[in-house]
Amino acid sequence: GAGVSQTPSNKVTEKGKYVELRCDPISGHTALYWYRQSLGQGPEFLIYFQGTGAADDSGLPNDRFFAVRPEGSVSTLKIQRTERGDSAVYLCASSPPGPGELFFGEGSRLTVL
């Protein structure tokens, strides 16, 4: 009965470094989403996977951000050459087929020094 699992829960890195954030969705959920939540803001959409393919990546801010879901389950959000402005909580969510609610993980808090 596990929910959406995100690791690490906290990540502190230095400007310019590479970071990977992992999301393990609820078993059987075909859709997976990444959102970013900055301090005092609501979650902002980054990318949405249906199975293995990115169905909508319109929210990725620039080409330093990339996400994969090679086997249609676990997803990894990759951030290259991190900048201080990338500091935020990165939220992952999954959902079963069809329209409905998104089930969110607790997020990965990224701090770029």
């Binding site: 929910g3 989403y33 949405y48 089930f103 969110f104």
Partner: protein
């Protein structure tokens, strides 16, 4: 442009008092509407959702919301607030068709509860 507005950044109510959190949206298509709650250090939890049908929807923890198309609003209500309701509340809108995951969230309303 598609957007969600939650006009109140922070609301304080006394325990036992009624609550209404406002949400207005701007969306070109027929929307799905959601209210999520986020407690400190926890993920977002769905309180309720509106897809179609009865415009008054009931959710968990005694919350309800009413969809008013003419006012583009989806306000959240609770008749009697408990101290455990202190949290941040987010309204969100999504498309009935298309990218179901691309929810647009408001900036949130932080609820404080006085004893």
């Amino acid at each position: 442009a598609q957007s969600v507005t939650q006009p109140d950044i922070h609301i304080t109510v006394s325990e036992g008092a009624s609550l209404e959190l406002r949400c207005n949206y701007s969306y070109g298509a027929t929307p799905y509407l959601f209210w999520y709650v986020q407690s400190p250090g926890q993920g977002l939890q769905l309180l309720l959702k509106y897809f179609s049908g009865d415009t008054l929807v009931q959710g968990i923890k005694g919350f309800e919301a009413e969809f008013k198309r003419s006012q583009s609003s989806f306000n959240l209500r609770k008749p009697s607030v408990h101290w455990s309701d202190a949290a941040e509340y987010f309204c969100a809108v999504g498309a009935v068709q298309g990218s179901q995951g691309n929810l647009i969230f408001g900036k949130g309303t932080k609820l404080s509860v006085k004893p």
